[in-house]
């Protein structure tokens, strides 16, 4: 990754004083993940240009130094080459004094707004040129964005960014320090509470009133909501009460359905339907992170709850959110989480009075549904089963959803109301259940509701 800083303020070589790096020498700084070289590509009275070149060891990086130890991190990736939080760390290590605006030799120069140019490449611009401009232009920079071509000449996610303007050098460095990782939308290190302090320090004087402030804060704090809320409260105390809009990293499905808060309506409808069956022991099949369980655990009638999911990570989250085996959590034995699958018979959850399949069946290939039906309706045979699934007809009403597309990339199918009824009729016939259908969410006169629900009892 490459960053150059240039000025035409005369004498231009005074840039060496501002950077605390003599233009006549090569500068090399050791970093945890490699080296930083600072050299002067040009140094005369009229123009002076310093280049900060990061020399990251791609092999050492893969071997787990400084990066996570996960398998994917062992693969080749763009981290040794792309401008990212590595560059911010390098700026802080090599040019901290300049970034702080301190210059004992030329204090008046450090405080002065001088003509500056900067080039950064390759900069991963997640959000595209529009976002690059939205971030830098309000700060007074003339922005030039040149796409970096891929190996086949195709467009890549990277750009070469050129900034020009008149500003204090410390302001330019601070802008870059914050906004490079914001455009990359990632951090190579663990983000904790002290990250908020760093943002406050480097954003001082320009972030408070930045039109994209919220986005900058969220991305800089890698979408950790608690941290973002704390930072915003400090940046704009008057807005502290306002709720942050939805996080951009939520699932596509949530984004689509967000305006109607469909998920909450769904959980409520399912909980009501379960209670109406008179059940005491309930299994949430495909419980995910335990949203329904958290709803049910608050009720009195649900004496015993079982959550089943194939995803170990989901179950860990569910356990944490339900505070299982933690002080303040449900009493021992009331909630059991099981790692399992709906295509295998599993006697561990047999014997419940009712079961819920909330937005689950559409995540299985259609040819596995007979196995699911056998497992749930043929083998476990709870007295009642509540099933919800998207109503495909309603998709036409989602403005952002292309025709024929599904609401979630993992959906294997989305059924019309007739298809759902057909499937339920098969359950009635094969397993002796009776189905009653209802709608969840706002009902459209022709297309029905966004979610369809069946309560099957025997």
């Amino acid at each position: 990754m490459y960053l150059s800083l240039a000025t035409t303020h005369q004498p231009a070589t005074d840039l060496g004083f501002l950077l605390h790096k003599h233009p006549g020498r090569l500068h090399e700084m050791e970093l945890a993940f490699g080296k930083a070289h600072l050299v002067y590509a040009e140094a005369n009275e009229a123009r002076c240009e310093a280049a900060l070149i990061l020399d990251i060891d791609p092999v050492g990086l893969v071997r787990g130094k400084g990066m996570g130890e996960g398998l994917l991190d062992q693969y080749v990736n763009d981290r040794p080459y792309a401008a990212s939080s590595f560059l911010s760390v390098a700026l802080n290590k090599t040019l901290r004094t300049a970034m702080n605006g301190v210059c004992t030799a030329r204090p008046e120069l450090a405080a002065a707004e001088i003509p500056l140019e900067a080039v950064i490449t390759p900069l991963p611009a997640r959000g595209g040129e529009a976002l690059v401009r939205a971030l830098f232009e309000p700060l007074g920079w003339a922005v030039e964005v040149e796409p970096v071509a891929g190996p086949e000449g195709e467009a890549s996610r990277y750009v070469t960014l050129r900034l020009a303007g008149t500003a204090r050098l410390s302001a330019l460095l601070s802008h870059l320090y914050v906004l490079i990782p914001v455009l990359d939308d990632d951090k190579h290190y663990w983000v904790g509470d002290d990250e908020v302090d760093k943002l406050m320090a480097r954003g001082k004087g320009w972030l408070e009133g930045h039109p994209s402030r919220d986005l900058i804060v969220r991305r800089y704090l890698i979408h950790r909501r608690g941290l973002a809320d704390a930072a915003l409260a400090r940046l704009a105390p008057e807005a502290a009460e306002a709720i942050l809009p939805g996080e951009p990293r939520q699932t596509r499905e949530d984004q689509l359905e967000a305006p109607i808060k469909l998920n909450d309506a769904r959980m409520l409808a399912v909980a009501v339907a379960l209670e109406a069956t008179g059940a005491r022991a309930v299994a949430d099949l495909g419980c995910g992170e335990g949203k329904l369980l958290r709803q049910l655990v608050k009720t009195r009638w649900a004496e015993r709850l079982i959550g089943l999911d194939a995803g170990l990570r989901d179950l860990e989250w569910a356990a944490r959110r339900l505070k299982l085996n933690e002080p303040g959590g449900p009493p021992e034995g009331r909630v059991t989480l099981l790692h399992g699958s709906l295509t295998y018979r599993d006697e561990r959850w047999h014997g419940v009075d009712a079961a819920a399949l909330v937005e689950v069946i559409e995540h299985l290939d259609e040819d596995r549904l007979p196995a699911l039906a056998q497992v749930v309706f043929g083998q476990a045979r709870p007295g009642a089963v509540v099933v919800t699934t998207p109503n495909a007809e309603y998709n036409a009403l989602f403005p952002k959803l292309a025709a024929g597309a599904m609401r979630h990339p993992d959906h294997r199918f989305e059924w019309t109301r007739a298809q759902f009824r057909d499937w339920a009729a098969g359950i009635e016939r094969d397993f002796g259940y009776r189905a009653v259908f209802s709608d969840i969410g706002e009902v459209h006169p022709e297309l029905g509701a966004p979610t369809q629900m069946a309560v099957l009892t025997r």
């Binding site: 090569l26 070289h37 050299v39 070149i53 693969y75 080749v76 891929g150 070469t160 018979r345």
Partner: protein
């Protein structure tokens, strides 16, 4: 008058023995003398385990929990257990009776009552047993009050030893259970439900080689049946009712059993018939009327003889070293070779759900679908169209009396011998059988049990012995298998991972073919095959001749005539039309090559590579490799240019500039590395498929054939002229011949220089062994530019290569061998038509092994 104490206490060899006696009665010494130390579970010892004090009564509850837990585990494993505690009160004993019932063990009581004086004298000699005389007297009184009721409490045997001398003299001996005939190794002919069809029975016996001779003795009709030498018959019960000649059927079975040439187990019709003979009130339904009518002509002597015979019938027999059990209506695994009321009821009636079907008959729970035992269970009771094995169980009631046939199973040959019914003797209440298109096993297989795949498991493999699958690995595979993989009925195989060759020490190279040749040479291999490694994606192809063949062999239900899946069991193509399109081309090639007839099969399992790489890896290229190419070129070039400009001002920067220029040049190569492996795919026409192993066909796993055979078949498929079917270039390498080795190396250099991924080198034998056991079935030798994609743009810079050479291959190789053995095992089981869960556990284990953390660049 007291009866004298018994001296021979003959108990079943599988029982729950409850010792009963006051403190000091001598229970522990009696137990120590009569049982193995591990068989005796003492409450004193359990007290000591939980509190370090065997007399601490305050921990009694916990101590008894422990005794019960240990006893339960022993009974579960069919081991005798002896409860050494006072067990004075009926309430103390109730729990033991329940425990015995739960595990179908006979509860046996042994009462030790040497008198109060003897107990006190005994206690005096022991520390911490300073019970007053009152305590011992109270215990003895209570014990004596309860003894008479022990049978009623549920003890099947009660032994009372009333004197010190009696206790000292008594010897415990053990008898096998009535049902335990494991020492009888047969061979056997197991005969299904006869229901009075004497004529068909005679025909069947003759077909099985038995000679049946009727005669009149003292006015009684008698029969004598001579079996083929060494063989014995086993009747699964329901000899009588509905059919035309029940008395003769009983005569045949009775005479064979009495002569020692047969076993008979009780059927539900025998039980009712027996009750009727005893004069009890029973409804003459379900064909008993016919039997009653036929019995009218019989003599009182015959009736008495039959009554005795029926009363002595066993619930089941356990035969042939434990490998075979015969019961009328079947038996669960935990009931075999055990005795309880529940065992008898199950053996007679099977398991019902309590519901009644539309024909008024009880709905049967499908115990066979859940059966997981190693003992084969042969049974009758439920008429079927055909006798079919399901999970190591076989129902051989083929409804002779309803106009079906009478079936026998030869054991251990497992041959079915059948005689059609001479006529329909009785109209069935419910039509026989259902759809016959899918096998009974396929129906049972529709449901796998979570317990078949999770938890710590082990699999016995033919190639590598017992392999353990740790619980956390199985757990990691569950989500992939249940959410992303194809239906388990298709996944008969997953390919093993392949290890790279030993790291080359040659300057500038990470992998070279010389090391692969050396690897096998050092392990005693003389001939290798070297194959071009296609740069596509690995695929396993189940190719069926038509949808009917797919349904019969794989149990596919949606009318597919085959499937194609990836290394992790996912469908290779997102859309079924593409899958079927490619299958159709392959089917055409197999047809043209005449392989269906030649191999006598209507399905094949093929190991293949499907190209282009981008068809499967397009997203990976776009999301990972292309960005690396774009960013490395841009970043390094910018750096190099700045450094070159700096060098003009300061010559010291020249070296650095040169280094960055070198890095930039390597980065430029990176973006070109995958170009040969990427092309757009609009339809089947744009694909290439290169099969290179024939894994299995009907009745056959092809791992016993060398690679010449496999490549010959691959060549024949490619030679049919379909452009979609690609040939794999290959050659034999003679390790003893330097020219041959040099030729292989030169070929590799040429292949990789032309943009090829590299080469796979295999011993000629599919399964090769060396002095230290199984050899790697294949080693990959990847080309320099291909490795760049995997290891990164600058991997071959000298300072990087030096570090990358420090790669450990041990884990990867061990994994490759384990997966190879598991995949082979899956195929063996699949071809032998073992239950799906047995195939699936191997395939699941391959996937579980893949969750091992191994450097993915290897």
């Amino acid at each position: 008058m007291r009866r004298p104490d018994p001296t021979d206490i003959a108990i079943p060899d599988f029982a729950l023995v409850v010792l009963i006696g006051a403190s000091g009665a001598g229970k522990s010494s009696f137990a120590a003398r009569s049982f193995a130390p591990t068989e005796v579970i003492s409450s004193d010892y359990a007290r000591a385990l939980v509190s370090d004090d065997e007399t601490d009564q305050s921990v009694s509850n916990d101590a008894f929990d422990l005794v019960r837990a240990i006893a339960e585990k022993r009974l579960k494993h069919r081991r005798l257990a002896v409860i050494d505690a006072t067990n004075i009160r009926a309430a103390d004993r109730k729990g033991w009776i329940e425990l015995a019932r739960r595990w179908h063990a006979l509860p046996v009581a042994i009462v030790l009552d040497p008198g109060i004086e003897a107990c006190l004298a005994h206690n005096k000699g022991r520390e911490n047993r300073a019970f007053g005389a009152g305590v011992v007297k109270r215990m003895t009184d209570e014990l004596r009050r309860g003894v008479r009721g022990l049978q009623r409490e549920g003890f099947r045997q009660v032994w009372t030893l009333g004197t010190e001398a009696g206790i000292a003299a008594a010897e415990v001996s053990r008898q096998p259970l009535w049902t335990d005939k494991r020492t009888d190794h047969g061979p056997f002919d197991i005969i299904g439900d006869i229901h009075g069809c004497a004529a068909e029975l005679e025909l069947l016996l003759e077909k099985l080689g038995y000679a049946v001779a009727w005669s009149q003795t003292d006015g009684e009709r008698t029969v004598s049946v001579t079996p083929p030498p060494g063989r014995k018959a086993v009747f699964v019960g329901d000899l009588v009712d509905r059919g035309p000649a029940s008395p003769d059927c009983v005569r045949i079975a009775m005479s064979m059993v009495e002569a020692g040439g047969a076993y008979a187990v009780q059927g539900n019709h025998e039980r009712k018939f027996g009750r009727w003979l005893e004069g009890r009130k029973v409804t003459l339904s379900h064909g008993l009327q016919q039997t009653a009518d036929q019995m009218e002509a019989e003599s009182p002597a015959f009736k008495a003889q039959v009554a005795t015979f029926l009363a002595d019938l066993r619930s089941h027999v356990w035969l042939d070293g434990g490998r075979l059990a015969v019961a009328h209506a079947g038996l669960k695994e935990e009931m075999i070779g055990r005795g309880s009321g529940a065992v008898r009821e199950f053996a007679l009636y099977g398991e019902t759900t309590g519901e009644i079907d539309e024909f008024g008959l009880p709905v049967r729970a499908d115990w066979a679908a859940k059966y997981r035992g190693d003992t084969a269970v042969v049974y009758g009771h439920t008429p079927m169209l055909e006798a079919q094995w399901v999970n190591n169980t076989l129902c051989i009631d083929t409804g002779c009396v309803f106009g079906g046939k009478l079936t026998a199973l030869r054991w251990p040959e497992k041959d079915l011998v059948e005689v059609p019914a001479l006529q329909t003797w009785f109209e069935p209440m419910r039509p026989l059988g259902g759809e016959a298109a899918r096998s009974a096993q396929a129906d049972a297989d529709d449901l796998l049990d979570i317990a078949d795949v999770t938890g710590r498991r082990w699999i016995d493999t033919t190639l590598r012995g017992r392999l353990v699958i740790p619980e956390e690995k199985a757990s990691a595979a569950l989500e992939v298998m249940s959410r992303y993989a194809l239906g388990p009925q298709w996944l008969a195989y997953l390919p093993p991972t392949m290890s790279p060759v030993e790291t080359s020490t040659r300057e500038g190279w990470l992998e070279r073919p010389e090391e692969a040749l050396a690897h096998y040479r050092e392990r005693g291999v003389t001939r290798l095959v070297a194959q071009e490694k296609h740069m596509g994606s690995r695929a396993v192809i189940a190719l069926c001749r038509d949808a009917a063949a797919a349904r019969a062999r794989f149990g596919g239900m949606a009318g597919e005539a085959g499937q194609i899946w990836t290394r992790t069991g996912r469908a290779f193509f997102g859309d079924a039309a593409m899958t079927e399109g490619l299958l159709a081309r392959l089917r055409g090639a197999v047809e043209a090559a005449g392989l269906w007839e030649e191999l006598a099969t209507d399905w094949l399992l093929l190991d293949a590579e499907i190209m282009p790489w981008s068809a499967k890896a397009g997203a990976l290229i776009e999301a990972q490799y292309a960005p690396v190419a774009a960013s490395s070129v841009a970043g390094l070039n910018a750096g190099a240019q700045a450094l070159r400009r700096a060098a003009a001002l300061n010559p010291e920067a020249a070296a650095l500039a040169t280094r960055f220029e070198d890095r930039a040049a390597r980065a430029a190569l990176y973006g070109k590395a995958w170009a040969p492996y990427v092309w757009p795919v609009g339809g089947v026409e744009d694909l290439k498929v290169a099969p290179f192993h024939l894994l299995a066909s009907e009745g056959r796993v092809w791992f016993d054939q060398d690679h010449l055979t496999h490549m010959a078949i691959a060549d024949r498929l490619a030679a049919t002229g379909d452009a979609v079917i690609a040939a794999t270039r290959w050659r034999v390498v003679e390790l003893g011949d330097e020219a041959s080795c040099a030729d292989a190396v030169a070929w590799w250099e040429a292949l990789t220089a032309a943009g090829g991924e590299g080469m796979v080198i295999k011993p000629l034998d599919f399964v090769a062994r060396g002095p230290k056991g199984l050899l790697q079935p294949a080693l990959k030798v990847r080309g320099r530019e291909y490795l760049r994609i995997i290891y990164g743009p600058e991997y071959d810079a000298p300072e990087n290569l030096e570090r990358l050479r420090q790669r450990g291959l041990g884990g990867k190789r061990n994994l490759a061998l384990r997966e190879f053995a598991l995949g082979h095992e899956a195929l063996l089981r699949f071809v032998a038509r073992e239950p799906l869960r047995r195939v699936h556990e191997c395939v699941f284990a391959v996937l579980a092994a893949e969750s091992e953390a191994v450097d993915p660049r290897l």
